[in-house]
């Protein structure tokens, strides 16, 4: 039996002004699956997952998450949906005016409605340990390095244990060792919490470790879809070039 489809994207079209970025892409993501999206810079990968999270509105096509049309939800339903969804921003998007601890507490208080100080503290420490940042708990985001910010953003996304996690380049700007750790963290989320992940990356080793399925976007279309092995050995020169 095939697992339930948690994300259904059908014929998604999105333009900014007169520039068409996405011209009809379709794919599904099943529960518990890790889908890696590859594509050249500027093809609209970030735009695609922002549409999935309801941050951008598509021009045409339908987009369902947990079987519900994202654009037809009212404010409260959208909020409820987002509580089940994690989003790692390409730029980490840490709250500049808050410390690392407050950054982590922000989603905890709102998504999981945890009020207890001790519990917040212990969860913060736990998640920071998993990204290797225990020492940074009292720092301000401005005092973190680029790679630390990235990991911190990851910690803030994972702390609420979302059912679907959208990663926008989780390993960019990290050294190979940390990249590997982050990749195994993605797998761990899948194994322990049965999380579904969509991972945008340019990092081929990360894709290799995490991907159950790979999707290649090119010029606003889905160019290819398949397992890592299949695409790596594809007959198409262009597709193979992503894996070199």
């Amino acid at each position: 039996m095939e697992a339930e489809k948690v994300i259904e994207v059908e014929n998604l079209v999105k333009s900014f002004g007169t520039r068409e970025i996405l011209s009809g892409i379709s794919f599904n993501v099943h529960r518990g699956e890790n889908v890696v999206i590859l594509g050249k810079s500027g093809t609209g990968k970030s735009v695609t997952i922002k549409c999935i999270a309801g941050l951008l509105k598509q021009d045409e096509g339908s987009l369902k998450v947990f079987g519900e049309d994202v654009n037809e939800l009212d404010e409260d339903a959208l909020k409820a949906l987002r509580c089940r969804l994690g989003f790692l921003f390409q730029s980490a998007a840490l709250y500049d005016s808050m410390t690392v601890r407050e950054n982590l507490a922000f989603p905890l208080k709102r998504v999981l409605k945890i009020k207890d100080k001790a519990e917040i503290e212990s969860r913060c420490i736990e998640v920071l340990r998993s990204v290797g940042l225990e020492d940074a708990i009292d720092k301000m985001p401005a005092d973190l390095s680029g790679g630390m910010r990235k990991r911190m953003g990851l910690a803030r996304t994972l702390i609420v244990k979302p059912e679907i996690i959208l990663y926008d380049e989780p390993t960019t700007g990290l050294d190979t060792i940390t990249s590997k750790e982050i990749s195994s963290l993605v797998l761990e989320m899948q194994e322990q919490y049965d999380a579904t992940s969509v991972i945008i990356t340019h990092d081929i080793p990360c894709a290799k470790i995490t991907a159950d399925r790979v999707l290649i976007l090119h010029e606003g279309k889905c160019l290819a879809e398949g397992t890592y092995k299949e695409l790596e050995n594809s007959d198409n020169e262009f597709i193979r070039s992503f894996f070199k």
């Binding site: 999270a53 941050l55 404010e75 987002r82 969804l85 989003f87 998007a93």
Partner: protein
């Protein structure tokens, strides 16, 4: 071309009305961010206290010193405290303090929110199950509505202290005499319109700052632009509100 400017203006106005509606609706939504409201009131009040104290104090001194020669000519020196208190409390205090806060608070809010916008922090709040309008906009506008009047009252008091300082430097007057002189002249028709006005100024400062920051374009250049246009727009609003409130209160109180 004029046509385009006209439609752009209409669009902008529609955006502002929409923004106001969303602000207003979110005040009453459950999950009000009390903690953030207190933090904002503290920040707005605390950050501006220094400059407000200085401005108020010097305002009182300058008004007193400047009117002394003329008033002396008419032998009306004893009217100076009353003149200072009425002019500061009715008009100069609220407007000057509001203009200073437009420079300090509105630009600060504009820059802060637009930089959050550029760095995707507002979107991040949205996906973290928070309502950014509720968390960022409602708290800031309400904090301005509360703090700008308080800052103005404080500045008015400092202006009287400044006026008193200038008076004892040039003549003999007891504090008791000065302040009874200055305060007994005031009645509710001086105080209420002034208070009402500062509440509107507070709203204008908060609203313009939030609107400019929240609706800024992408790109870091827009941060400076948002801060700048927040100051300019808020200042213009303040002058316009001042003119309107004068007309309205005059027609209510003196007709």
């Amino acid at each position: 071309m004029p046509n385009q400017i006209f439609t752009a203006g209409l669009h902008n106005m529609a955006d502002q009305v929409y923004f106001f509606k969303s602000f207003f609706r979110n005040i009453f939504k459950k999950g009000f961010e009390w903690e953030e409201l207190f933090r904002q009131t503290y920040l707005i009040g605390y950050k501006s206290t220094g400059i407000i104290t200085l401005t108020g104090f010097i305002l009182g001194i300058v008004l007193t010193l400047q009117s002394q020669p003329t008033m002396k000519e008419f032998g009306a020196e004893s009217y100076i405290p009353r003149m200072v208190s009425v002019s500061v409390i009715r008009e100069i205090g609220p407007v000057i303090i509001a203009l200073i806060c437009a420079g300090k608070v509105a630009s600060g809010i504009g820059a802060e929110l637009s930089s959050m916008n550029v760095t995707e922090q507002i979107e991040a709040m949205e996906v973290s199950g928070a309502n950014p309008v509720q968390f960022l906009v409602v708290t800031r506008i309400l904090a301005c509505i509360v703090m700008i009047p308080l800052l103005t009252i404080f500045a008015d008091a400092m202006a009287l202290v400044g006026g008193f300082t200038a008076t004892i430097l040039s003549g003999d007057i007891t504090a008791k005499l000065y302040f009874t002189n200055a305060l007994t002249i005031l009645d509710y028709s001086d105080l209420l319109p002034a208070l009402f006005k500062t509440i509107l100024f507070g709203f204008a400062i908060g609203f313009v700052g939030c609107f400019k920051g929240f609706t800024s374009n992408n790109g870091t250049a827009s941060v400076g632009l948002a801060a700048n246009s927040a100051v300019v727009t808020a200042s213009v609003w303040i002058i316009i509100i001042d003119a309107i409130v004068v007309q309205v209160t005059n027609s209510i109180l003196y007709s």
